[in-house]
Subunit: 193 residues, 2 copies
Amino acid sequence: MARTSQTETAVLGALSVMPMTGYALREAIREVLGHFWSESFGQIYPALAELEQGGHVRRAGSGRTGASTFAITPSGTARLKELLSDPIRQVPPRNGLMLRLFFGRQLGPQACRSLVLDAKAEAERQLAKFEAIRQEPPDEETAADRPYWQLTISAGEHSARAAIDWADEALAALDELERSGGAPRPAGERKTQ
Amino acid sequence: MARTSQTETAVLGALSVMPMTGYALREAIREVLGHFWSESFGQIYPALAELEQGGHVRRAGSGRTGASTFAITPSGTARLKELLSDPIRQVPPRNGLMLRLFFGRQLGPQACRSLVLDAKAEAERQLAKFEAIRQEPPDEETAADRPYWQLTISAGEHSARAAIDWADEALAALDELERSGGAPRPAGERKTQ
DNA sequence: AATATCATGTAACATGTTACATGATTGG
DNA sequence: CCAATCATGTAACATGTTACATGATATT
């Protein structure tokens, strides 16, 4: 089996913190894990159905007619530990910004500058968000998870700061490149083959 | 259309540097763009076929019977500029390491420590590789592309250094967590370093 | 001659997103 | 009552990997 194991892990993990509906799962994953994980409804509901079949989660009665709150079972906790111990599946990298910069000669220094500026602004936004999250007052219920969550926040902060530093360096390099008169417009070299 | 536009971009980009076979494309993408991009044969060949149909690349005669060297056409260069100017498509993040650490309470500090150590070792390997690439002697043919390539190397270096710094911090935090006796897993193993 | 590598391509599968269909509940 | 939001689910599509089939060329 082990079919949608990645989604399973995220779902079981979230339910290990507190029971919630499928809809709330999506919100929680987006808001809390958002900077390093994502899931869509199209993944979450089938995963919940499969987990229920396997006895790893169960529906707890809920206030609303159509809605079910899902809770993790002991079997689910065991499964979660198993999944977390599995080797990390590398996702093949696909960084659109780097792809554009690598072939940046086709775009010219100005367009590249603009791409880097956008990336820097985004990194600054992220950094501010991380720092805000770090400030949030501690919560009794999730106190035991907190130290682990901080590790991921810290990773986000390091990564954002690195992006900002790199951007400054890249902007300087691009300015230099333009001043040293590379081609303002990329040269349409004629290579007749 | 714009069907496989991401692959198209990488393929046209690589061919804008020099003509090569589909097989060589895969090698080039893996070795040169490897740290921020990847493509498989299953993507490359259909993309080449489509690009050929659209007149953006053409087959140049080749030494071997079955093999074709693909070269970018003027129309292909125009298309590449277009693609590079398209907005960057964000890939939804899926960081398996962060997912495990976020739910690290289920694994315990020791297992998390091991994950972080692996990540640090990987970042150090990468950093060494980037520094080696930076040292490589300049090449006449690709001189005009070089400054742009350096931008992506530099990004890789910043990112790797950030990962290493974060790892050290995380390791300290995990040690602290264990010493302060958080929720210990069945305390079987003693560390022997 | 045997093996390794280069080379092209396809089919089956895995994964994941988007858009839609459907309806309940809440707040103004 | 009406709109916004909560909630569940599915179907169509997009994307991408892996494994295979096939054969040429180079190396030993």
